[in-house]
């Protein structure tokens, strides 16, 4: 049945080369933990991607209940966590996943760094990776404010004051982030929500695409 459906589509639009190009490629021996157990260090990039997928999915579901408004943000989070079935699990996935993704990202970076896998011709991919790291930190930072509880509020207060300390452009940066020169409030929350849910994910997807295309184009770096 499934085979027939696949054949029907394949006969018309020839999709086999498409997925073969993505999925069907040799894993070199030095990257395969079945040959050398120490090769598990190559898993961290994939694990980062896996956790990112969990973050995207759980985030999409959370927005079904969450409201980015100072009157209702905390109440909607409280509602989805206490009244909605499995709300604790879905929010928990997003909450813990946010930390796990940073850890995985860091381990991946350490592996690439200590193996020297960033060297020519892969410098460009290293730079894209660093940008991805900053975007992940940005996602963590903006997401932290969204529950609009005391921890979120004061953490953002601190962040904004750090931003304010930047020479020359500090105050303008703070105002742009917070939406107001003095208040951390309604406009801060909507801005952080927009950045967290639209702007940073868009940049994340674009850079992830570049990251993956480059690794397929250049191949994985050789054994040590």
């Amino acid at each position: 049945m499934l085979q027939k459906l696949y054949d029907w589509v394949d006969e018309r639009v020839d999709i086999t080369p498409l997925w073969r190009d993505i999925a069907d490629h040799e894993v070199p021996e030095h990257v395969n933990p079945a040959h050398h157990f120490s090769a598990f260090v190559y898993c961290f990039g994939g694990l980062t991607f896996f956790v990112t997928v969990i973050q995207i999915l759980s985030g999409m579901f959370l927005t079904m209940y969450y409201v980015p408004d100072i009157e209702n943000a905390w109440r909607s989070v409280y509602y989805l966590q206490t009244e909605v079935a499995h709300g604790q699990i879905v929010r928990g996935m997003h909450h813990w996943g946010a930390s796990v993704v940073i850890v995985m990202l860091f381990l991946h970076t350490l592996r690439v760094f200590f193996q020297g896998a960033y060297k020519k011709p892969r410098e460009l991919n290293w730079m894209v990776g660093v940008l991805l790291f900053f975007i992940m930190l940005g996602l963590g930072l903006t997401g932290y404010l969204l529950p609009w509880d005391n921890k979120a509020y004061f953490a953002t207060q601190v962040t904004l004051e750090i931003a304010e300390k930047v020479p020359f452009i500090g105050e303008a940066t703070k105002t742009l982030l917070a939406g107001d020169p003095n208040i951390v409030g309604a406009q801060t929350l909507t801005r952080f929500f927009a950045i967290h849910v639209f702007f940073l994910p868009a940049a994340l997807f674009a850079l992830m695409a570049v990251h993956f295309i480059l690794i397929r184009k250049q191949g994985i770096s050789g054994p040590l």
């Binding site: 969990i54 999915l57 509602y79 009244e83 909605v84 079935a85 499995h86």
Partner: protein, 169 residues
């Protein structure tokens, strides 16, 4: 190799195992999210309360508009909502409480809302009309009669509850 025994090749075995484990992991991940998303459809309905609206003695044979307020809990938002009914006593002295929601497209009907039809309910949106008993006038847009409110009488006071369509009355 014997023909009778179905051999599973190494490739097939790995394929099945990986698909199984992957499917299990994907399901474990998606199950809470799907249950989370469909929760509103599985919540118990809270629209079953009766509320005192009027003394029965004050109700005449002329349909009268009665407004009353209920406390509505909409997830994290609680508010007071006004509900409306057209209430009268029929020739037997029984209470009739009709929903004002037009069965065509949901506008509000009014008793004697049109000067041309002083003894009918009238919907201003598409000239839908209903007789006094709430049945729809043929050849006007509504395809069925107005919903009834469920009612109770306690100590001479009329209590109105949820509405129900005619078919179930």
């Amino acid at each position: 190799m014997s023909e009778k025994r179905q051999q599973v090749s190494r490739r097939q075995f790995l394929n099945y195992t990986l698909t199984g484990v992957g499917g299990f992991m994907a399901a474990g991940m998606l199950a809470p999210m799907v249950r989370f998303a469909i929760d509103p459809a599985l919540q118990a309905s809270t629209a079953g309360e009766f509320k005192a609206v009027e003394e029965v003695d004050n109700i005449t044979e002329e349909p009268t508009r009665i407004d009353w307020e209920i406390e509505q809990v909409d997830a994290w938002y609680e508010s007071t909502v006004t509900k409306t009914a057209w209430v009268y006593k029929d020739e037997n002295g029984d209470i009739v409480a009709l929903s004002p929601i037009c069965k065509h497209l949901g506008c509000m009907v009014t008793w004697a809302g049109s000067d041309e039809y002083p003894d009918q309910f009238y919907c201003p949106c598409h000239d839908g009309r209903y007789y006094k008993d709430g049945e729809n006038v043929p050849n006007t847009p509504p395809a069925e009669g107005l919903d009834f409110y469920e009612y109770k009488i306690e100590d001479g006071t009329l209590l109105l509850g949820p509405t129900k369509p005619r078919g179930e009355a």
